[in-house]
Amino acid sequence: MTAFKLTELMSIRCAKEIMDGEVVFVGVGLPLVVAGYAMKTHAKNMIMCTEGGAIRATSPPGLAITVDDPCLFTNADATYGMLATMAALQRGEIDVAFIGGAQIDKFGNINSTGVGDWAKKESFTYFAGSGGANDMATSGKRVLGILPQDKKKFVEKVDYITTPGFLGGPGQREKLGMIGNGPSCVVSTMGVYRFDEDTKEMYLAEYFPGQTVEKIKENCAWDLKVSPNVIETPSPTEEELRIIREIDPTGFYLG
């Protein structure tokens, strides 16, 4: 078995959550690597949309560093603009909203704005901000998240809700008129999570090779529920690793 990085396994595993033919709105960061991989492997009919305004039916010629990277627009199907691509979210035409973030809580709310107490300005450490993540998670039919995991990132309550998961629990999205159905799957550097249909709480569905349920629970700040059918994620194949490394040859995202 070829040695692999957790970021590589995380990306390869996450790609499998994308079904062939789906319209995927791809956020900045690892989603760009994963979407490129999916389009080169099992999801050749995936349609990729980005905030930068690209709509493409083919894998980009190089690794896009951001959602506005010129390579996303080279031989794109449309260079449509931020307003027009994101309008597809509001019309309910996006199957998968695919995002990263800095912190996530048990209801799948994501923080990409910063950590600390915003109201106490001196204590708040700013990150980038929402970008399109908020719009994507509000209106995409389902949300796919990819985030590295530790206890500071998988928290009971995020410091700042940038992007809505299920907010405080069942029924809240509906009450606010959100047209998307909310988070469906989160892939971390340790395992794969899904959401309970009734409680809307995130639970562990798969653990990565080399990880244990105990270790994962230690790296999660709330009392994590575990599926009775939890399984070990298969290790990536050599072919899978070859393809993902081709997509990010300098290790900009995969390390």
Binding site: V28, T50, E51, G52, G53, A54, P61, I65, T66, V67, D68, D69, P70, F73, T74, N75, T79, Y80, G81, M82, L83, A84, M86, A87, L89, Q90, T113, G114, W118, A119, K121, E122, S123, F124, T125, Y126, F127, A128, G129, S130, G131, G132, A133, N134, D135, T138, S139, Y160, I161, T162, T163, P164, L167, Q172, R173, L176, G177, M178, I179, F252
Partner: protein
Amino acid sequence: MGFLQKMMASLFQPKQKNEDKPKTEEGCMDIDKRMTLKDAVAKFIQDGDTVYYGGFQIHVPMALTHEIIRQKKRHLTTVESSTDVGGLDILVGAGCVTEIHTAWIMNWYVKAPYAIRRAFNKGHLKRHDISNFGATSALMAGFLGIPFIPVRGNIGTDMPIHNRKDIRFLEDPFTGEKITVVRAWRADVAIIHAQKADRLGNVVSYGTRGVTDEFGAMGTKRGVIVTAEEIVEPEEIRSDPDRVIVPYFKTLAVVHCPWGAHPSACRGYYGLDIRFSQYQGRYERHAELLPEFLDEWVYGCKDHAEYIEKYKEKFGQEGLDRLKPTLGFKPKLDIDYGYHDPAVWKGVPLYNDDRLKAYEEALAAKKGGN
């Protein structure tokens, strides 16, 4: 005359009568808006202005950013959706900006907006967060000349709690449901970078419609300052007008400025300079180091050409050569903007047939009978 009156007077000089204005051979207006970077910023950006900040990862108006810093403009407010490579970070770090309205600000290559973080912590910067579509819609509302616009999104999160200046909720007058509305953003002036412009101020940008420059620019109250890689003739632009994102009447100043977006990318001219963004970002990271970066790369250069010369001295011509894009992607569609001259209808009788003729004659007879 007080300061304000003087400022206003210099901004809004009495309009020339049309007959006094320069004309082209065809007799149409030909006002040459080309000027230096220095003059453009000195003339059209005032302390306290709200500025639309163009670009994203590409077409970031870096030469204009540097010039605003050089001229020590103060108390600016910026509006944009997303911006990368640390352009806005150094503008804040240099003390030019006191208020930002944004969805996303980064120097992605060091994974943080360090100067903005510090300015916020110290209370020197008001930051108003909104989502990308919220920001784009705010610019669209400005473009449309309406006061606000409904959007999905932002609701339920912390953004509307901390940014009441831009985000509120209304009852949909048609359905009674609660809906998010965002305030229209209309900047005083826009700063943008584009591939081509002509002396009149027609701005051509292509291959990257992702940025919201056309809305941010057209929504401005006073107009647009553009830096362009190339200055071309108006007839070249008029031969392909689909690509114009800002028509001349909205443009205040045109600055010929090769590499004007560096270290961000300019589609078809150069790619993103990741190594320089990281280099700049490592200076952004430390409050005590950033002034030294500004001294060397901004205050120490009289204009953008000097900045590029400095780059070559320090990192070599090969640094710039590495940014050359892969070309060979000219459009394959054969397009002709042909038009049809209605003069051909002169003398052509109306098309007719017996049925139509009989009907119309009967109708006329009936009317005559009344």
